[in-house]
């Protein structure tokens, strides 16, 4: 597999953040962070606990509003857009803490996710009639996500009784069912055993080919196996950004982060 070492500057980023900041009272959780996500590229964000990685993901996904800065999705200014609107425009995200519909089956989780795209507005009476599970394009989207994430075997199982690793896979499958072009994944490997992690890394490897991806992750083996570009955050600030090779050799990064982690 070839990894682009520097990105073709003529390609337009799918998601572009310009000097995003988030202030919680006196705490500057994210400080002037800029980054671009390109198609077919996985951009990993690493950093010690409390570096602001999850907050950054929240800013990019519209879960919380930025205090300042700009956000562009596919060339369109989407600064201040709410969560659900970004999602409908091709930005999908998964959560650090598993956030699925626990009482529903895997399939029903995926159907609900798949049905969001192209849905009638709620106040349109057309959305009140007709069975949700009779829409062929929705079924096709849910099925594609089911296959991609390798969940066919647990299709009819209730999400609540699945193992943690499978729930994490479902978490990602639900994002895939919305057919996003940009994927923001917040610690997809969190709490996984070695075998489960391996499955997940394989899945992420596959997804890289069709999406612009942001991966926040603590598992350094996975990060260096997957990432095309790495950004290192400490205390809300980006201290380095570049290819995995360049990051490995960066003295600041070694001092601030990798040194502690590999010690």
């Amino acid at each position: 597999m070839t990894k682009p070492t520097a990105h073709d500057s003529s390609a337009r980023p799918l998601l572009q953040a310009d000097k995003l900041s988030k202030r919680f009272g006196g705490l500057l959780a994210v400080n002037d962070v800029s980054l671009s996500l390109f198609k077919d590229q996985l951009h990993a964000v690493i950093g010690p606990n409390g570096a602001g990685k999850t907050t950054l993901t929240h800013l990019l996904s519209g879960d919380i509003a930025a205090s300042s800065g700009r956000l562009q999705l596919k060339g369109q200014d989407v600064t201040g857009w709410p969560h659900h609107r970004l999602s409908l425009h091709g930005l999908g995200r998964s959560y650090q803490k598993t956030n699925v519909f626990l009482p529903l089956s895997v399939w029903d989780n995926l159907m609900l996710a798949a049905q969001a795209q192209g849905a009638y507005a709620p106040f349109n009476p057309l959305s009140w009639f007709g069975r949700a599970d009779h829409n062929p394009s929705v079924v096709a989207r849910a099925d594609r996500a089911l296959q991609l994430a390798g969940l066919s075997a647990v299709r009819n199982k209730t999400a609540a009784i699945l193992s943690h690793g499978i729930q994490r896979q479902l978490e990602i499958a639900m994002v895939l069912a919305t057919e996003p072009q940009v994927l923001l994944l917040d610690e997809p490997l969190a709490g996984m055993g070695a075998a489960e992690a391996e499955t997940m890394v394989g899945l992420l490897q596959t997804l890289k080919k069709d999406h612009a991806m942001l991966l926040v992750e603590h598992d350094m083996d996975a990060v260096f196996a997957l990432a095309d570009i790495l950004t290192v955050m400490v205390n809300g600030t980006v201290i380095a950004s570049g290819t995995p090779q360049a990051i490995r050799e960066d003295a600041k990064v070694q001092a601030a982060y990798l040194g502690e982690a590999s010690a």
């Binding site: 996904s61 879960d63 709410p82 969560h83 659900h84 609107r85 999602s87 409908l88 995200r93 959560y95 956030n99 699925v100 519909f101 626990l102 009482p103 529903l104 159907m111 609900l112 996710a113 049905q115 969001a116 795209q117 849905a119 009638y120 507005a121 709620p122 106040f123 959305s127 009140w128 009639f129 007709g130 069975r131 949700a132 599970d133 829409n135 199982k157 209730t158 609540a160 009784i161 639900m174 919305t178």
Partner: protein
């Protein structure tokens, strides 16, 4: 952890059977010739429509409204305002107007209350309902505390609702239509999304659903259906007063939904009939040793609801439900 929330909407075959039997019984009931009981059943059917409309919020969307009677009572008032003193209004006109009025007020109030969650939602829905209650209670022009009379019941298309039997079947048809509408809605894209909002609102937003619009639509629809019930109530009693919008009315509807089992519409329907039957039974209790048991019916009703919540958290309907394989 998941069991009480899961698949509330799937009805076991026994319930379908029970409902079919119930429908036959309702169709045949007036032929028993018991005028008093026919009127009582009309009243039960009206309350069942009201309870089902609340279930759309409480059981399906997970929004517990303690002010749902506001939209019930309002439609009754609209009928009263539109009824001439000595002639029949047309229900073809007054019914849609009454339903629209309830829907419109629910839309406006919903715009504010649907932003809140949990206990705050309960409190603000109650506060708005109390505001409406006192608006009517304190204004002589709106009937004041005495309320308003509907001297002549509406009529149209040869269906004169002054006729008790016509009103009975009119209400029965309304009941069936509302039930079928809500059951279909439950499996529609809209209904599936409301279900998702109840289970995990944050995730529905992440998937791309504007949950505010969904909740507001549900609130408005529930208000409209409550309006249908309130209109029929006004027709049946020929009288409206602020109590129809009152706290007790709202609370009774919640109890009906809990008694029957929420989230599947059928439970609310069964709960409304059950509640009224128990009410009738408790009020008829004799005086024992100088203590009038019937006068204190609320004590027995309260105990019954507590018992149901403890023994059958999914209501009377839950007792008919086979245990799911996942439990």
């Amino acid at each position: 952890m998941s069991a009480p929330l899961a698949h509330l909407e799937i009805l076991p075959r026994s319930v379908h059977f029970l409902l079919a039997l119930g429908l036959l019984a309702l169709l045949a009931f007036p032929w028993t010739g018991q005028d008093f009981y026919t009127q009582m059943v009309t009243r039960m059917m009206i309350l069942a429509i009201f309870a089902m409309s609340l279930d759309l919020l409480q059981g399906i969307t997970g929004l517990v409204s303690l002010g749902h009677a506001a939209y019930f009572g309002l439609a009754g008032y609209v009928l009263a305002f539109m009824s001439p003193a000595d002639a029949a209004a047309s229900w073809l006109i007054t019914l849609p107007v009454a339903i629209l009025a309830s829907a419109l007020v629910a839309l406006v109030i919903g715009f504010f209350v649907v932003r809140t969650q949990g206990i705050y939602f309960i409190m603000v829905t109650m506060a708005f309902a109390q505001m409406l209650y006192y608006l009517f209670f304190d204004n002589k022009g709106l009937g004041g505390s005495d309320g308003l009379y509907i001297n002549v019941r509406p009529s149209a298309l040869g269906l004169d609702l002054e006729n008790k039997l016509v009103l009975y079947y009119f209400t029965l048809v309304s009941l069936v239509l509302v039930y079928v509408f809500l059951r279909r809605l439950l499996w529609s894209p809209f209904g599936r999304t409301l279900n998702g909002i109840r289970l995990n609102e944050h995730r529905t937003q992440a998937l791309g659903y504007a949950s505010f619009s969904y909740k507001l639509t549900a609130f408005t629809l529930a208000g409209a259906l409550a309006g249908l019930a309130g209109y029929l109530w006004g027709v049946q009693t020929g009288y409206v007063n602020p109590e129809l919008m009152g706290f007790h009315m709202s609370a009774h509807a919640i109890m009906m939904v809990i008694l029957g089992g929420m989230g599947n519409v059928a439970g609310a329907l069964i709960g409304a009939f059950g509640f009224e039957l128990f009410l009738h039974f408790f009020k008829d209790l004799p005086t024992v040793g100088g203590f009038d048991l019937g006068k204190h019916w609320q004590l027995w009703m309260g105990s019954l609801i507590v018992l149901v919540v403890i023994v059958a958290p999914q209501g009377l309907m839950g007792l008919l439900r086979p245990r799911s394989q996942d439990d």
